[in-house]
């Protein structure tokens, strides 16, 4: 009996000792089929392109598990999409278009130019751009020569990875370009900084300008030649485009005239063989990745109703341009959200000033509507438009009824033509007013508008109008209005500017957005923009 008991005690004590040894069990590992530890992930050759797709994907996708997932906090997942939040900031704050559903957080402040540093859309875009920077830095850390050596990556693949690295650096420069434009400053983080809660130093606008400029110059040799890369991947033309943009806006950004440089890069792009799509609308259709717009689009954000689901700018515009009275979603191949977007009175007046009556770019629907959006919650006030579509150029519906197949044309040739014309008008050397006039007429002619201009018609006001008519809804407007001195102050007012129906002047502080309060709290090196 005693023996049995003793054995039991030994057994119990032994068991206790055994489990004490089990503290190693605290080292658990990932088990999910879609989750991998970093070195496991980069153990296959295809991972490098998947990692590249992850960085590009951040332009379109908000998370890894569907359109409702997000790796950005503080706002609704769909609204946190790169292109969407960029679009919200560049469009809703201007004389183009307003968002009817003002109970969506942050949107009313954008509609009315009364945003604060708590605005969630502003926080979302700042965070999305900076997360893009973090993704790029991580990709660069994982593709250093040392890492590739240690993983035994083949020479052939290493050659490709060299291009990939240049492309992600382009995407980082693009993000810093956006931050420079919208916020005038940002925390500067590179692949040499640690992951965690690193409080990066603040770069002001001129530092960011210098970085974007030098970084793009540095990667140009490694980028593929214009139009030689796969669709949706950046090439030299995409880098030239960002350079042309920063030079065009250099007076705003750094107080220097850089129109000559702008013109140089515009010409680079034009000479690279891009051509206008014969049909204007093809640029905004469900098959704009494969129809004739393919030769016009320089750099898109991809969207797909099945495999790249997101609530990005094209899904938003196609669904929200559907009219509350018209219920015309079927025309665009979607069920539609009806009533979300209406244009300002000033937008409609420009479109209807007589120059664009017969012009494919004028898609205004005005029947039974008032020209002024007298009430934000009466969706029947204000005109609506029909520029975007989830139907293909052949009239076939896209692959789903809400999320569209239409890619967002971030940069396209028509913009370059107008930039060329503007740079020349603003005194750039190396171009000609005749070519400028021809480019504008090319755009009119492509839109089946027979009202051609002459050189004597060329002036900055015409350029600004022409830009609105051509590029409406493509997220250029705020930058354009600022460059033309019409965004702040009271010389030019539009519906709901400063929160009154007919518009009032607003302070110059609104030329840049505030740094989100949460971002300053998390990184005190960031200093708030004046006035916020």
């Amino acid at each position: 009996m005693k023996n049995i008991i003793k054995q039991k005690v030994i057994y119990i004590v032994g068991l206790v000792l055994l489990v004490v040894g089990c503290t190693n069990d605290l080292d658990v590992t990932v088990k999910d089929p879609n989750a991998l530890l970093v070195d496991d992930f980069y153990s296959t050759p295809e991972s490098y392109k998947e990692g590249l797709a992850g960085v590009y994907g951040n332009l379109a996708l908000t998370g890894a598990s569907g359109a409702g997932s997000s790796n950005i906090s503080g706002l609704d997942a769909g609204t946190s999409q790169y292109g969407r939040s960029f679009w919200n900031l560049q469009e809703l704050t201007t004389d183009e278009v307003k968002w009817s559903w003002e109970n969506d957080p942050g949107l009313k402040g954008l509609n009315n130019n009364t945003w604060t540093s708590d605005n969630v859309v502003i926080r979302g875009f700042f965070g999305r751009c900076m997360t893009q920077v973090a993704f790029v830095n991580e990709y660069l850390r994982q593709t250093t020569d040392a890492k590739l050596d240690s993983r035994g990556v083949s020479a052939e693949l290493r050659a490709e990875i060299k291009t990939y690295r240049a492309e992600v650096r382009f995407l980082r420069a693009l993000a810093y370009y956006h931050l420079m434009d919208l916020f005038g400053k940002a925390g500067f983080v590179t692949e040499n900084d640690p992951v965690g809660a690193y409080q990066s130093p603040q770069y002001d606008r001129s530092q960011l300008f210098a970085f974007v400029e030098s970084e793009l110059e540095a990667i140009l040799p490694d980028l593929k030649d214009a139009r030689q890369n796969e669709y949706a991947r950046a090439d030299k033309a995409a880098a030239w485009m960002v350079l042309a943009k920063i030079y065009l806006n250099a007076e705003v950004f750094i107080g220097q005239n850089k129109y000559d440089q702008c013109l140089t890069y515009c010409k680079n792009i034009i000479d690279a063989g891009f051509t206008l799509s014969p049909v204007y609308a093809n640029n905004f259709n469900a098959d704009n990745d494969s129809n004739s717009a393919k030769t016009e689009i320089i750099f898109p954000i991809v969207s797909d109703g099945v495999v790249t689901q997101n609530y990005g700018p094209t899904t938003v515009m196609v669904n929200a341009q559907v009219g509350s009275l018209e219920q015309n979603g079927a025309d665009f191949g979607v069920a539609g959200w009806a009533g979300g977007l209406r244009v300002t009175k000033q937008f409609s007046e420009t479109m209807l000033n007589g120059n664009y009556d017969n012009d494919d770019r004028n898609t205004i629907i005005s029947k039974d509507r008032t020209i002024e959006m007298t009430s934000m919650d009466n969706y029947g006030t204000g005109y609506i438009t029909a520029k975007w579509s989830n139907k293909t150029s052949k009239g076939v519906n896209g692959s789903a009824t809400e999320i569209v197949d239409t890619d967002f044309p971030m940069f396209r040739l028509a913009d370059v033509y107008l930039m060329y014309a503007e740079a020349v008008l603003r005194g750039a050397s190396g171009g000609s007013l005749v070519t400028a006039k021809d480019y504008i007429n090319l755009l009119r002619s492509r839109a089946n508008n027979t009202k051609f201009i002459t050189v004597s018609d060329l002036n900055l006001d015409l350029i600004l109008n022409e830009r609105m008519v051509e590029l409406y809804g493509e997220a250029h407007r705020r930058q354009d209005l600022i460059r033309f001195g019409k965004f702040t102050g009271g010389t030019y007012n539009w519906s709901w500017k400063g929160s009154t129906v007919s518009g009032i002047g607003i302070s110059d502080i609104y030329k840049v957005f505030p740094i989100p309060r949460a971002s300053i709290a998390a990184n005190p090196n960031l200093k708030q923009n004046t006035g916020y």
């Binding site: 993704f135 965690g196 991947r233 790249t308 069920a335 934000m376 309060r517």
Partner: protein
């Protein structure tokens, strides 16, 4: 899995045990040739008779109990000794003799000898140093109790339980308000030593819904750190220890049955069909064309009176004449108010408690199996409020199964999405009846405990407790092809999807306990080790009727969660007057990196039995004890999705989240947020309590105060942009304090005076919480509401209560009516924007109270429970999101509105959504239950009885709150509009 399940909880075993029990029963009755003894048992001081006294023949398991008049009758052998015992009285023994033995029992001032279960052991109430409240089965709430936690709702100061209206619905349980902002605030629930996973498995109603309340013997609610710190890393939110019923030596069997009818207690006031027609003719005649001719009350259509039933049998006794055993079987069928909502629970429980080697080795085996079956009703409560009441439920011409729907046949020969009216709501009745969303959850849980008192060293015992809890859920959802639900490509073909979820939880505890008296010193020490591992795996098929990539199945597996702890506790008692407790736990978690995963959690407590020291002569004062406690506890539960935040992980995109280069769809992979510095959240608690007892503890009271300080709060907060793969993530930020006072009093107001007994207890809790710091002082917007993409109405801000409402200050006109969209410009910059939001009340009550009363007069008993909550405010999202005239037109159809729109005349939802007008005082007084019963004695034999009872659940609510129910979830936001039923119940409890 299936086999194992059947084997453990199978019917065969059960039947066997049941007959074993019956056999035991007959064996008792078959003794013969005995003396007949009868008599009456009375109270020595008051003189009244005492019913329910157990009269047992010493050294046997034979006996009886006294009836309601205190009388008993028993057959004995010569020289047998009778033992009379009753809770609260001293035992009496008497050698049996033929005839009458009347006996008076002396009240036991040592009532506090009752044992209360604490972490890794037990203690006597009188020796407890921490804040521990024990509620045993005799004090449980009565009536329609479906889930275990409702047995003690309102009974314990500092414990709040909020249960939803769905059948088998889970509860939000908070002890002293919780201690976290971003981590879990759920208390640790320990069943027979096994801490259970606080994550409800998908397909089940809640973590406790599969547990049969009838199998529960007692709850111990551990509130302060000196009591909870032995559970270390999981103890910050308090601990609830559930002890299941054990096998006993004497035979008994019970059969409980009840049936109930649930009715809709309250509806949201919306316009009737006729009222809406009038309203629209007045306000917006252009919409008249859209109206139908019916008068449908959609709330009435989606709800029903539902019948539910409940049956439990249990048998207790000696198995093979040696092993105390208990077996029980329970079956609960609950039908929800919503047409298709169903909950069914079948449980089987076996407990055997043999002792070996002269009681040196005590073995306790407890095995439970449950099968929970659910049918989930779609949440159509909101649609039912706004669906046009002028439209009928049925439409003979409708291609959608005869249900009215908004559509316009485009006559292309096929009904698909293009025939539906865009964005029109769907008929809520059809949404319920055309969907079949079911689940089956199988759960087995239990433990084996070996408690061995060493033969050669009897002061020392070694305890080994091994536990397991396995849940597996299977579910499916079928939508009829007559339902307007369409696939992504617009086809209407119905829908079918399946899911399975598996969770498991394994425990191994081993500890040594040492007890010895050294003269004036009483020592009780415990030290041990605990290992626990949780696993979680889920599979969902997604749409099976569509083979597109966006409906590909998804398997997700979380990393294991492993928790390892070393613990020790010493209780020292000097002169049986001065009590000290010291405890210490060192805990490791797999959730944090190697450098941060271990945490230390010490606690100390002191108690002084003042009565024994200073008032030992006092007659009226029977107890006075001071308790002081201090301790540090931890928290690491930030959810199943955050088990690996310290690792460098990449996630691959699902088939819907890929990118396209050229024509090639390319899988994306993105790095995930990473924080290698994550560590424990720590809460330090100070507690001081005074326990009183008067008149032999007929009146007892406790006053207790606490102060809690949580630091290094785990919260998902903004992180320096660009430094990580998100703009926010879990970090240890901020601290938070809460303080409170609890008061409880219990009394036997009448005791046995002419057969009348009345005992009542009352408790009250005042809690105040405040955020002391957040990361760099930054506010966090919280409290999502249904409207707008990601709208919030609450804020965490330094200096304020968490989840304070953050809204605009409404301006009113001279008639006291709110002016739409007019808000105070609080910062005076002439712009009304988010800088003018302000903090206005919060959802936390200032005071909560509970009152329970039990009375009986002879065979009749009456009991009721009430709860009150004062100073809690609610954001009425049911109104704010619906009660505006512009919403009459919902794209191309008409919507109904709550009639509260007549009070405001608000037009625009956008303009008023964040108005403080919608924040209402939601103080309430509720009677949860009233029940009345009658007990018939001596049915089959002296020990058998039947109690018939009738009760009403959710009897009444007194409140000024204008919404459906002032008791809401989500920290005071009334998003949920599932009504709690009023239930009428009849039942019978039989004892053998």
């Amino acid at each position: 899995m299936m086999n194992r399940y059947r084997k453990r909880g199978g019917f065969f075993n059960l039947k066997q045990h049941f007959f074993m029990g019956l056999f035991l029963c007959f064996s008792i009755a078959s003794f013969g040739q005995k003396l007949k003894v009868s008599g009456i048992v009375t109270d020595a001081t008051v003189g009244g008779s005492i019913p329910g006294v157990s009269v047992i023949i010493k050294s046997s398991n034979l006996g009886t109990t006294t009836d309601l008049d205190g009388k008993y009758q028993i057959e004995v052998n010569q020289n047998d000794v009778l033992v009379f015992s009753y809770m609260g009285y001293q035992k009496a023994e008497m050698v049996a003799k033929s005839g009458t033995i009347n006996i008076s029992l002396v009240e036991d001032t040592q009532k506090l000898d009752e044992v209360v279960v604490i972490g890794y052991g037990s203690t006597k109430i009188k020796d407890a140093t921490g804040s521990v409240t024990s509620v045993t089965s005799k004090d449980f709430n009565k009536g329609n109790i479906v889930t275990p936690e409702n047995l003690l709702a309102g009974r314990v100061a500092g414990l709040s339980i909020t249960t939803g209206g769905e059948p088998g619905s889970g509860s939000t349980i908070r002890i002293r308000g919780g201690a976290s902002l971003g981590a879990s605030n759920d208390p640790l629930i320990v069943i027979n030593g096994l801490p259970v996973d606080n994550n409800t498995i998908g397909g089940s109603r809640s973590i406790l819904s599969s547990i049969n309340p009838n199998d529960i013997e007692s709850f111990s609610v551990l509130k302060d750190a000196s009591a909870t710190a032995i559970y270390g890393s999981r103890a910050s939110n308090g601990v609830i220890i559930i002890t299941l019923k054990k096998g006993t030596k004497t035979f008994s069997a019970t059969l409980d049955m009840n049936m109930s009818v649930s009715t809709l207690a309250n509806k949201v006031d919306v316009f009737s069909g006729d009222q809406l027609r009038n309203l629209i003719s007045e306000r917006n005649p252009s919409l008249l064309l859209l109206l139908g001719t019916a008068n449908t009350d959609w709330q009435k259509e989606i709800y029903r009176n539902s019948v539910s039933s409940n049956i439990n049998v249990s048998a207790n006794g000696m198995l093979f004449d040696k092993i105390p055993s208990r077996v029980s079987f329970g079956r609960t069928l609950q039908n929800g108010l919503l047409l298709t909502s169903e909950f069914e629970r079948n449980t089987g429980s076996v407990s055997i408690n043999p002792s070996l080697f002269d009681d040196h080795l005590k073995i306790s085996v407890n095995a439970n199996a449950s099968l929970e079956k659910n049918r989930f009703a779609k949440g159509v409560q909101g649609v039912a409020l706004t669906f046009d009441p002028t439209q009928p439920v049925y439409d003979a011409n409708s291609p959608f199964g005869g249900y009215f729907q908004y559509y316009k046949d485009n006559n292309d020969g096929i009904i698909n999405k293009s025939d539906l009216t865009e964005r029109a709501p769907l008929n809520p009745v059809a949404e319920l009846l055309q969907r079949n969303d079911r689940s089956e959850v199988k759960r087995i849980y239990g433990n084996v405990k070996l408690d061995y008192k060493l033969h050669f060293f009897p002061e020392l015992s070694a305890v080994l407790n091994v536990g397991m809890d396995k849940n597996s859920a299977d579910g499916f959802s079928i939508v009829s092809d007559k339902n307007p639900l369409s696939q992504a490509d617009g086809r209407i073909i119905g829908s079918y999807s399946e899911y399975t979820n598996d969770q498991s939880n394994y425990l191994l505890d081993g500890y040594l306990a040492y007890k010895k008296e050294f003269g004036i010193l009483n020592l009780d020490a415990t030290a041990g080790y605990s290992y626990q591992k949780f696993t979680d795996e889920r599979y969902k098929s997604n749409e099976l009727l569509d083979d597109g990539v966006d409906s590909a199945p998804v398997l997700s597996i979380n990393p294991d969660l492993v928790l390892i702890g070393f613990f020790g506790r010493t209780n020292l008692s000097f002169y049986d007057k001065y009590l000290f407790t010291f405890s210490y736990r060192r805990d490791g978690t797999s959730r944090f990196s190697n450098a941060n995963r271990w945490g230390n959690f010490p606690a100390a407590a002191f108690a002084w039995k003042i009565k024994e020291d200073l008032f030992s002569e006092s007659k009226s004062l029977s107890n006075l004890k001071l308790r002081l406690g201090w301790g540090v506890t931890g928290q690491q539960d930030i959810g199943q999705a955050n088990l690996d935040l310290y690792m460098s992980r990449y996630t691959k995109g699902l088939p819907t989240s890929q990118y396209i280069f050229g024509n090639t769809v390319t899988t994306i992979a993105i790095p995930q947020f990473r924080n290698e510095d994550l560590k424990w959240e720590e809460t330090t608690t100070y507690n001081a309590g005074l326990d009183f007892g008067f008149f032999n503890d007929r009146l007892t009271a406790t006053v207790e105060g606490f102060y809690k300080e949580s630091k290094d709060l785990l919260a998902n907060a903004a992180i320096s942009d660009g430094s990580n793969f998100s703009n926010s993530g879990f970090q240890n930020i901020g601290d938070f304090t809460s303080k409170g006072i609890e008061f409880s009093i219990g009394a036997d107001i009448f005791k046995n005076q002419k057969g009348f007994n009345w005992n009542a207890n009352f408790n009250s809790t005042f809690i105040k919480t405040k955020i002391n710091s957040l990361a760099l002082g930054q506010d966090q917007l919280v409290g999502g509401i249904g409207n707008g993409a990601g709208s919030t109405t609450q804020i965490h801000r330094v200096g304020y209560t968490p989840y304070s409402f953050y809204v605009y200050k409404q301006i009113y006109n001279e008639n006291g009516k709110p002016i739409e969209g007019a808000y105070a410009d609080l910062n005076g910059d002439n712009i009304i924007n988010d800088a003018d939001l302000y903090i206005h009340h919060n959802g936390m009550p200032t005071v909560t109270m509970g009152f329970a009363s039990n009375m009986n007069y002879k065979n009749i008993d009456l009991s009721f429970n009430m709860r009150a909550s004062l100073g809690n405010y609610v954001y009425n999202a049911a109104n704010s999101s619906r009660a505006q005239y512009n919403l009459l037109k919902n794209s191309s159809v008409v919507s109904n509105l709550p009639t509260s729109v007549l009070d405001t005349n608000f037009q625009s939802n956008e303009a008023v959504l964040l108005s403080d007008y919608y924040i209402e005082n939601a103080s309430f007084l509720k009677m949860d239950n009233v029940s009345i019963g009658y007990t018939f004695e001596d049915i089959f034999n002296a020990r058998s009885s039947i109690r018939l009872s009738a009760s009403v659940q959710n009897v009444f609510t007194i409140t000024k709150y204008s919404g459906l129910d002032p008791e809401v979830f989500e920290n005071g936001i009334d998003n949920s509009i599932t009504p709690r039923p009023r239930t009428f119940l009849v039942g019978a409890n039989m004892k053998f």
